[in-house]
Amino acid sequence: MQVELIHFLCLAAILFGIGLYGVLTRRNAIGILMCVELMFNAVNINFISFAKFITPDKIIGQVFAVFVIVIAAAEATVGLAIVILIYRNFKDVFIDKMNIMKW
């Protein structure tokens, strides 16, 4: 049994697809944020496996993964603050009810 680069790439594609399905179907805003985190993680797996298999002498892919993690943290913070604010105003977190900006 051997595991090569393509196995990691396929795994990351499957994880990204699952996250995409969740983003498209979830009604709960917090659920959508959780699925976005899944997609960020799939991208990170790609970065790190490319860094390991293609440029093993430089680990620049891992530096990019660090930046992705930081930006995911910032996104989660601001996103959850917005969700809390929406809940305070609407008493609801289901985004298909948030249509006051729809004309």
Partner: protein, 171 residues
């Protein structure tokens, strides 16, 4: 290329990861979904160790499992009606969404397989990195990527201030 016990570990980790990721997107109780998100993130951290990225595995556990999941669970506690199981958690788009996701996964795997047939990625066999992973990463961040490093810290500060400003009650 990973062989032997690491290959078996890879298959076990990916099995756990995919099953718990499916649980994250399909479970009706949003709190249980958040707990399965923790399991998925742990599996990703284990995968980072297989890919000899020890520092990033530690960062994954600290930031994702320790901070972001706890933030999610806090938000769930503050907002969701956990006891009411009759609330529908998915919208009417689940069939087209399933179609789109399966098409995405299929096309991506087809592209990877075709690329592999046509010669594949330029893989280097010498996959041993000299020196410790943490030291190498620190030197890269402080030498070659110092400007993005500073920019990203300003971004983090802006997100912190923004979250406080958005969530605070205005009197």
């Amino acid at each position: 290329m990973l062989e032997g016990s690491t290959a078996i570990a890879f298959y076990i980790i990916s099995f756990v990861m995919i099953l718990s990721a499916i649980a994250v997107v399909t479970l009706k109780n949003i709190f249980h979904a958040a707990l399965f998100l923790v399991l998925t993130l742990f599996a990703v951290a284990a995968l980072y160790i297989l890919l000899s990225a020890e520092f990033l595995a530690a960062v994954q556990v600290l930031i994702y499992v320790g901070a972001i999941s706890i933030l999610m669970i806090f938000a769930v506690m503050l907002t969701a009606q956990l006891t009411n199981y009759n609330i529908k958690q998915t919208n009417e788009q689940s069939l087209p969404a399933l179609l789109i996701s399966v098409c995405f996964i299929g096309i991506t795997i087809f592209a990877i397989a075709t690329n592999n047939k046509l010669g594949g990625f330029p893989i280097k066999e010498n996959t041993e990195i000299a020196g410790s992973n943490t030291a190498n990463l620190g030197q890269l961040l402080m030498r070659d990527f110092i400007l993005p490093f500073e920019v990203v810290s300003v971004l983090l500060l802006a997100a912190l201030i923004g979250a406080i400003v958005i969530a605070k009650r205005d009197n």
